[in-house]
Symmetry: C2
Subunit: 202 residues, 2 copies
């Protein structure tokens, strides 16, 4: 995610890095199918040949791009957890805050995973497998935090929080809900409260 801010122009990085930067920019802005390898090479100020020297196929580049995005998310979540050691509730809220704060930037462009899955209907495609593994890992991670927070049904709580996180991104992308960030935070707090309330299991 901090990969985007790199200036990437004057002090030229090696071609492979420039290609990945260009792919990040173009894939997340226009979509996978809408971007040709020539366009990526142009934006990376290199050539198609150089691209194919580092990546076997376009699909392999897509996969590597998604692998990096997933790693960035995971690293960001690690950082949030480290900021609140042994405070699972604060860690969950920190993750929600991280997504909420990202909404304005993501606005109308959308989550790269959600968008990419839409373009990868084949569940056996390596890139799609990567996304599904990443998302499943995030849900497990949330469930783990919920368990550590002492919630009696951590899987249910994690699922509810996940729905809210994904829904907030989708609804921001299509502009149907305003102030999605604040609402997202309120929802997550409410989920935590409801699940930790003693007799409130419906």
């Amino acid at each position: 995610m901090d990969r985007v801010s790199r200036q990437s122009r004057v002090a030229k990085l090696p071609p492979r890095e420039r290609i990945l930067d260009a792919a990040e920019e173009l894939f997340s802005r226009e979509g996978i199918k809408a971007v040709g390898v020539q366009a990526i090479a142009n934006r990376a100020e290199t050539t198609k040949m150089a691209l194919y020297r580092h990546f076997a196929t376009k699909d392999a580049l897509v996969e590597e791009w998604l692998r990096i995005v997933a790693a960035d998310y995971t690293a960001a979540f690690d950082q949030v957890e480290d900021a609140h050691p042994d405070e699972p509730r604060a860690q969950i809220l920190g993750i929600a805050r991280f997504i909420a704060d990202g909404l304005p930037e993501i606005s109308h462009r959308g989550c790269p995973f959600i968008n990419s899955v839409a373009e990868l209907p084949d569940r056996t495609h390596p890139a799609r497998r990567l996304i599904e593994a990443h998302k499943a890992g995030q849900v497990r991670r949330l469930a783990d935090l919920c368990a550590r927070a002492g919630l009696p049904d951590p899987d249910e709580a994690a699922a509810e929080i996940t729905f809210a996180l994904e829904g907030a991104q989708v609804s921001t992308q299509n502009g149907s809900v305003e102030r999605a960030g604040e609402r997202l935070m309120r929802i997550v707090e409410a989920v935590l409260d409801r699940h930790s309330a003693p007799g409130a299991a419906r």
Copy 2:
């Protein structure tokens, strides 16, 4: 939504209908960009020329397809509301039930609107405008029902329900959450309870 079940083959419908049926099938299964007009014509057992006699461009066909899908959803919601006249809470739960019941069918294919937005990054594209208008209308509709149900903050409640509906579809598509339907229903019930509770405004 019932358009899918049409047999559409032996007792041939007029070409325009067959083309729209083929578009529904292929666009929702493979995505917009992944499907060529030739493939649509083939599946509709007609020709590209016939297709272009009824639709000015591929984009126009995409737009018409989405218009029909949106109308189908709206009609389904109408039907749910009619089934529970003057019972806004039951109407809201009925809408959630409708989405929850659709999850297994949608499974791994995803919501056509969410998927299409991912392939339409240009917010001025007519098809994207149509989707955004539809989604905004659904949120307004939910907020209206929430208001009629006497909830003190109908916009907030509608946003929370919307997040849950969208999130459930996304998480079902990428396989990260099991039994999403049951969980969706529990969330919506909890949102209604929390917002109708007297002193519970945080």
